[in-house]
């Protein structure tokens, strides 16, 4: 019996992740995706306020809007 898991060691249904969370790809988890969306928003704000390029300024709104919408969507992803 040595080495075999005792009944209390065995994973129960509560320990296992929910089926939906198990199917969810690791790279699509909330943490990294929120980080990506945050970086997009921060870059968009930088583009909006930088003094170097009018072209960057011109695309800033699209980048901020994409980042913000992405943030709203990915914040509902499983952790």
């Amino acid at each position: 019996m040595i080495g075999l898991p005792t009944p209390s060691d065995r994973p129960t249904a509560l320990d296992r992740p929910a089926p939906a969370a198990r199917r969810w790809p690791r790279w699509l988890r909330r943490g990294p995706m929120e980080g990506l969306a945050t970086a997009l928003i921060a870059f968009g704000i930088f583009m909006l306020m930088q003094p170097v390029s009018l072209a960057l300024y011109g695309h800033s709104f699209a980048v901020i809007l994409t980042g913000t919408l992405a943030f709203v969507v990915v914040s509902h992803f499983p952790e």
């Binding site: 909006l48 306020m49 930088q50 709104f61 901020i64 809007l65």
Partner: protein, 321 residues
């Protein structure tokens, strides 16, 4: 506690008996959920009327040629034309840069001063409660009041600020104008914002410093870590989420700063202090380009909304600590 529980049916019966028949008949059969909705519905309706509806109306107007001074003129659909014009307009771009300079300058100074003040106050010297209250006073004033009395302080003839500078540097007090000089006016606004909002940053940093457990410093003392090492390895990393919170909050607030700039300089001299919100006001209520200014307002709103998302994320991180 047990008495209260055992008496609760009696209390409920008494309350039921005290309710007028007319009201009781009307409420009979309503679930707790329905009652909850009944209670919050006035607030929800008010919010919809004064927040949500104007927001959607602004988005709608940003796609039209609507002018508020000619409400009966035929409305034409412009699509994304205003957005395209704003995002290729060098004047608006310049206003965004003025805003950026203002935001960066105020955030850097307020964070450094606020953290330094919090660090001093955290030392709990004699009378620190009194000095905390004194430092917090500017934050409690209305921006309109602050703007008006700093306008008096900056007067070159009678203003105390010019006399203080004259006393410290020896230059003639009437030889410079804080609000009328192109190079000094942005700094005049930065000084006022720093004076008013450094206490707020100090409060948040103080909360961060007070949340650091003492045993970390005791362990560092045992390891004979120097004060500088303790500051770099314990104080700063532990207080960093709070500092980030303060930076984000002040960033959002200063990004949409209007009242102080409008009262102090009105965007002048020329367009030296014309931040984005002043440009917005000029387009909306001086040039009466309502559609154009609505599109600009939507762009600013999306930027602030994005920043607010980052702020909430930082807040959750601080909460989970």
């Amino acid at each position: 506690m047990m008495d209260e529980l055992s008496n609760s049916p009696t209390i409920a019966l008494k309350a039921a008996a005290a309710t007028p028949d007319r009201v009781a008949r009307r409420l009979q059969g309503l679930s707790d959920r329905t009652l909850a909705w009944l209670f919050i519905s006035p607030t929800v309706l008010l919010l919809l009327a004064i927040n949500i509806f104007p927001l959607f109306w602004t988005v709608y107007l940003s796609f039209t040629n609507y002018r508020a001074n000619r409400p009966n003129a035929p409305l034409r659909w412009f699509g994304a034309e205003w957005y395209h014009r704003i995002l290729s307009d060098p004047d608006i771009w310049a206003a965004m840069q003025v805003t950026a300079r203002f935001v960066v300058a105020t955030i850097v100074i307020e964070t450094v001063l606020g953290f330094a003040l919090a660090w001093l106050i955290d030392k709990k010297f004699r009378g620190h409660g009194f000095w905390t209250t004194m430092i917090l006073l500017p934050m409690m004033l209305s921006p309109a009041v602050v703007g008006n009395f700093w306008k008096f302080l900056y007067q070159p003839q009678i203003g105390l600020f010019n006399y203080a500078i004259s006393f410290l540097t020896g230059v003639d007090p009437s030889s410079f104008q804080m609000l009328g000089d192109v190079s000094l006016s942005p700094w005049a606004i930065v000084i006022v914002d720093v004076w008013m909002w450094t206490p707020y940053v100090m409060l948040i940093c103080l909360a961060g410093l007070r949340s650091i457990p003492d045993y970390l410093y005791e362990a560092a003392e045992v390891d004979r870590a120097s004060s500088w090492r303790q500051f770099c390895s314990i104080t700063l990393p532990m207080a960093l989420p709070f500092i980030m919170l303060a930076v984000l909050f002040r960033g959002i607030e200063n990004f949409k700063m209007f009242d102080m700039v409008n009262l102090l300089t009105g965007g002048g001299p020329g367009s030296t202090t014309e931040v984005a919100s002043i440009t917005l006001k000029r387009q909306a209520f001086e040039a009466w380009r309502t559609g154009y200014s609505s599109a600009f307002a939507v762009i600013l709103f999306v930027a602030v909304f994005g920043l607010a998302n980052i702020y909430v994320k930082a807040l959750n991180r601080v909460k989970s600590r």
